[in-house]
Amino acid sequence: MLVPVSWLKDYVDIDNIPVEELNEKLILSGSNTEGVVKVIEEAKKIVIGKIIEIKKHPNADKLIIPMVDIGDEIIQIVTGAENIKVGDYVPVALVGSRLPRGIKIKRGKLRGEVSNGMLCSAEELGFNDNVIPKEMRDGILILKGEYTLGMEIQEALELNDYVIEFEITPNRPDCLSMIGMARETSATFNLSVNYPQISLKNETENIKDYVSIEVKDFDLCRRYAGRVVKDIKIEQSPSWLQLRLMKAGVRPINNIVDITNYVMLEYGQPLHAFDLDKLEEKKIIVRRAAEDEKIITLDGVERKLDKEVLVIADAQKPVALAGIMGGQDSEISDNTKTIFLESANFNRKNVRTSSRKLGLRTEASSRFEKGIDPNIVEIAVDRACQLIEELGAGKIIKDKIDIYKDELKEWTIKVRPNRINRLLGTKLSIDEISDILKRLELLVERQGEELLVIIPTFRQDLVKEIDIVEEVARIYGYNVIESTLPKGSTWGAKTNAQEVEDYTKDILNALGFNEITTYSFVSPKSLNLINIPEDSFLRRSVELINPLGEEYSMMRTSLVPNMMDVLSTNYKRKVPEALAFELGNIFIPHNIPVNSLPIEKKMLTLGMYGDKVDFFSLKGAVCEFLNRLGIKDLGFEPEKNHPSFHPGRCASIVYGNHILGTLGEIYPDVLENYGFDSRVYIADIDFNILLQITRLDRIYKPLPKYPAIFRDMAIIVDEEIYNKEIEAIILENGGSILESCTLFDIYRGQQISKGQKSMAYALTFRAQDRTLTDEEVNKVFDNILKQLRDKLNAELR
């Protein structure tokens, strides 16, 4: 909402308040602003001039030489403008002046003729193209009215003015008007509002002879009123009116349209003017449209209606979409003689749904949607007629038609001052509270310790006691209320699960992994990229009905595509190495179609690529991480059938009966899908299970008191034998004295037959209660070898 300060001054005496203060205090009382803009910046020596003669340019067809009276002299100017004529008042930038956009005017010659200045267009004065009247867009700003020649235009045209852009919250549609903002200003500065005095001088004949009105659907139109104006003279509005509209961001069209817009800006009530002669039988019927009924709206579009769209119709057809847009047929034109000026109150919801349905949002519809006081209907139409009369744009027919069902009257709210103080933490007296409310034009009656607040109909947002609490708070001043801290005590803490999550991130950071964050929604095609078959359970997903696009249409059922995406982005950007993890939710529907909230399951996905990483770096990191969470004795079962992974380089991570997840090298096709020319390793871990088996408590184990004996063992086994099998036999037969067994070398090649490998283990023996002897260790060692030989056909190398 653009509010020119000069316009605001019509209603509140703010002459002595600097604009910065006005802006700041209004913000603090609840009218937030987007900023203050000066209408024209630092323009000087731009004065009012009158064109007294236009000469032809001797050397150029496209140029003319107007002689311009600027009060104390007549100057010659050369211009290419086409829209000027003798007698026009125009803004003249004199030699030495500077235009708002930085252009400096110098004396010059154009094709041999002296030019002592420049005639200015509205754009050159700093107006936006979208508010400049069509006739003046490509030419000079022609001023309508009488002006003192030579006067600085800032003064003459109220251009040394500021425009404040207010951000109006949806609960305050009444503030979408100059009057509404005047009320806020008066409440903020404790001033009074001077409302416009509305009176009509000459009313003739009677409206009943001109038009008849019938409202059929009162549920959608609470009040319908209007006046008739005859002898309409369509022309351009005077400059003061044009400029006010322009400053408020509205493009002037012609006097009648401008007046309806002016009143809409002033009071917030949209008005519509019909060419009365074009209404069949001079009849107006407010009714729901018939199914498939059609209308061509002002914008030239034919629109098909349904039974829920409210229309204004004449005896035969719809002539306007109520509260949205008029029809082309009844539009006023230069030839219009008589108009019917509509001022009505349409149902908010209906305007909103119709406007959405038709895809047509207008200034009027957006105002009706937000809600308008039905009691300004009459004031607004009278105000418009007053302006029509003042501008000599037509003659007002006596009386108005005003059909008003279910009149909205003031209501009351009971307010407990001690409740206000209790909620705000203030100690305001009843009188202080009453004074604040009176500034808002709320009448207050004291009833013992309570206040009865009478709410005027323009404040439909005030319904409950709490609404009054807010009014008191904002006018008293949020910043005046003393800051305190809540009394009482609670203890703050993370839950165990939150602790584990944070700990997880810390450990993974320590292991070199960066945390990533990716969207919860993905493309369904992302599952194709990781090779997931059509019938996989991962395809049962929660889908959005209105996604931003197909690529964000499915709630993810796996974090793997997101991880691949991120790794791939990094890879393509030539980041040489990436180690990353994401801890986030996947979404599993209970039913398809989804009819209840899905299961949100937390997953932990790790991914890596780079020269220095392989399967075992990732496995090592995962084991280290899980060990830190107290999850030991992990098993890794070869997993040959996961479609996203290399069948020979993939394992399920097993803990007891739980499968914690999958770890492995990514399948070549998947790598190709993501543009990788290198290997990628991913671990996908079910974090919910992890949370259940995490053990962060520790019990101390005494440090060894007796020395250990170390033995290495290299055995030759068949290729197919897994380390796990060998280790199991070693551990099983190591008895209580085998402390640990670590694979330290695998060798294939010379001296080893094809199809076989040499596996070398370092064994550590130790007893808790004594120093071991070689004999003891040899015995166990030999038995281990024997078992390996018997069970795996292993030979000592």
């Binding site: 609960n171 909620l423 910043n479 800051s483 809540p486 009905i545 982005t569 939710n585």
Partner: protein, 339 residues
Amino acid sequence: MKEQLLQILEKVKNDIAAAEALNQLEQIRVKYLGKKGELTLLLREMGKLSKEMRPIIGKLANEVRDSIEKTLEESKAKIKEKEKKARLEREVIDVTISGNYRKIGHKHPLTQVLDEIKSIFIGMGYKIAEGPEVETVYYNFDALNAPKDHPSRDLSDTFYINKNILLRTQTSPVQVRTMQKAKPPIRIISPGRCFRSDEIDATHSPMFHQVEGLVVDENITFGDLKGTLDAFAKRLFGINTKTKFRPHYFPFTEPSGEVDVSCFKCGGNGCRMCKGSGWIEILGCGMVHPNVLKECGIDPEVYSGFAFGMGLDRITMLKYEIEDIRLFFENDMRFIDQF
């Protein structure tokens, strides 16, 4: 024999003086003091000496042995020192070459700022509440006093799964879930992912993060809300941070407000960050609307509360001067490595 002893001493000293390495010294020790060493062998002859001479020569022999041992030790120490120095010289490395230990990972910048916020509120007695990303219309809108025709409910603003299920547009549903489960006193913050139908650009993302807070107890006042958020802002942005409360409108709180903090980049003088105003808008807040309390089974006549919410992405962007929100979700390692 006396002469022989002195001769040996003389020879040993010459030998030691000529020695350059520890093993030469050892050879010298063996040569003279070892089992078959010259001195040892000589001393075996002691038995042949007269009774009178024995103590004299014995004394001399001990002196010679001590002297040899002492000289050996001294020489050993010297050579050791020399060898050490030589080794240190040999081992000079280019210390300007960069280290090669694997770097530790980094938390996502959003997590880092969230961690700060969490710890501030935990310190003020808050717990952390969580809720689902996929929510019901009831929890996201209805229970929060959002008017039935509020534009935020539109398909153009909110992602829907069906007419009753949506992606939460705020973390406020967590507040409702908390209030319905727990009895006051309640002090929670609810951080999490939120979704709104915004096209992706430098300042918009269809997924973003909020941190909301809720306090419900007897006698909670608007002053308490101010004090809490002022304390929070001072902790997060620095002790000199000032706060400014402006009235605003939210359906689920009343009175409602927005909070500006004095620009933590320029200290309030005006800079690019605060667009010259000296203030940065950071929070929305207000007293929990009685309708919301009632909906959650809390008597608004007995209890009152305040709620607040902030955009984690925005605060993180401001804090680190990140100009494009898309960087958060691209996850370029070179970006994450910076935090």
